[in-house]
């Protein structure tokens, strides 16, 4: 199946500055695999060393979060759009022990 994968802005420098790529895939996981086959530099920013999607990498099939479907095994069909969307987190080095509310 021919699907389009939307590449998030911070990763476009690793994908020849493209905002999307066409891949052939049967599942969302294959679509992501097809993307990193085209642009190997993307891999470490999307997946951990043991091959799991990083927790701040969110993947949508059309408008649905794949976490609420079959995750990476979610089947895709011709014309589907797989979007990679970052979420952002951080914080200070303050430990929870030093923080006393009130």
């Amino acid at each position: 199946m021919a699907v389009k994968v939307i590449i998030p802005t911070p990763l476009r420098v690793y994908a020849a500055k493209k905002d999307s790529a066409e891949v052939s895939a049967r599942t969302v996981g294959e679509a992501l695999g097809g993307l990193t086959a085209q642009f190997a530099e993307l891999r470490k920013h999307l997946f951990t060393d043991d091959g799991k999607l990083r927790s701040f990498v969110n993947v949508y099939l059309n408008d649905e979060d794949i976490r609420y479907m079959a995750k990476e095994a979610t089947p895709v069909k011709d014309g589907d759009v797989v979007s990679i969307v970052p979420s952002i987190a951080g914080g200070s080095a303050a430990s929870n022990n030093e923080i006393v509310e009130g």
Binding site: P8, T9, P10, L11, R12, V13, Y14, K17, K44, H45, F56, N58, Y60, D65, V85, P86, S87, I88, A89, G90, G91, S92, A93, A94, S95, N96, I99, E101
Partner: protein, 157 residues
């Protein structure tokens, strides 16, 4: 990407980041930096590669631990990107505050960071905005490179 990152921001926007940090104190504030990057934008001025031209303040979603953590959901990111597109800009980074802590990235920041984005940190000491720094995650994800902040009276558009 090489060293020598520079971020250009107007005095007014830098002040607004500090004010957001002060208003949220003792909690962390967060928001998106909307702007231009010469990697994508023909219109970006030639003498610097990245400039912040608008802010998109967000609600810190970490209501369980708001004094030392911030979180921006994927939905928030999509909202910020929509706002950026409406201004003809990109989301070029994120800002957050470190209440009563220095403006240095934490281990937690590094583990959860994305490459390419500028991460502005403003230290807010006893409720007053203090030092402001900006950082970029290295390609190998192991460390940050400091990014120079150039504050101008008016952003060059």
């Amino acid at each position: 990407m090489s060293d020598g990152f520079h971020l250009n921001i107007s005095h007014d926007l830098a002040e607004r980041i500090g004010r957001h940090g002060a208003e949220a104190f003792p909690h962390e504030c967060c928001g998106a930096l909307l702007g231009r990057d010469s990697a994508f934008d023909e219109a970006a001025s030639a003498d610097f590669r990245r400039e912040v031209l608008e802010l998109f303040p967000l609600v810190n979603r970490r209501d369980d631990s708001p004094r030392n953590r911030f979180a921006v959901t994927a939905e928030d990111v999509m909202e910020a990107e929509k706002a950026a597109r409406q201004h003809g800009l990109h989301v070029v980074g994120w800002y957050h505050s470190h209440p009563d802590h220095p403006a240095r990235p934490s281990q937690f920041d590094r583990e959860h960071a994305w490459p390419w984005y500028s991460y502005i940190i403003v230290s807010v000491m006893s409720g007053e905005p203090a030092e402001m720094t900006s950082w970029r995650l290295n390609d190998d994800r192991q460390d940050y490179t400091p990014e120079g902040i150039e504050i101008r009276n008016r952003a060059a558009v």
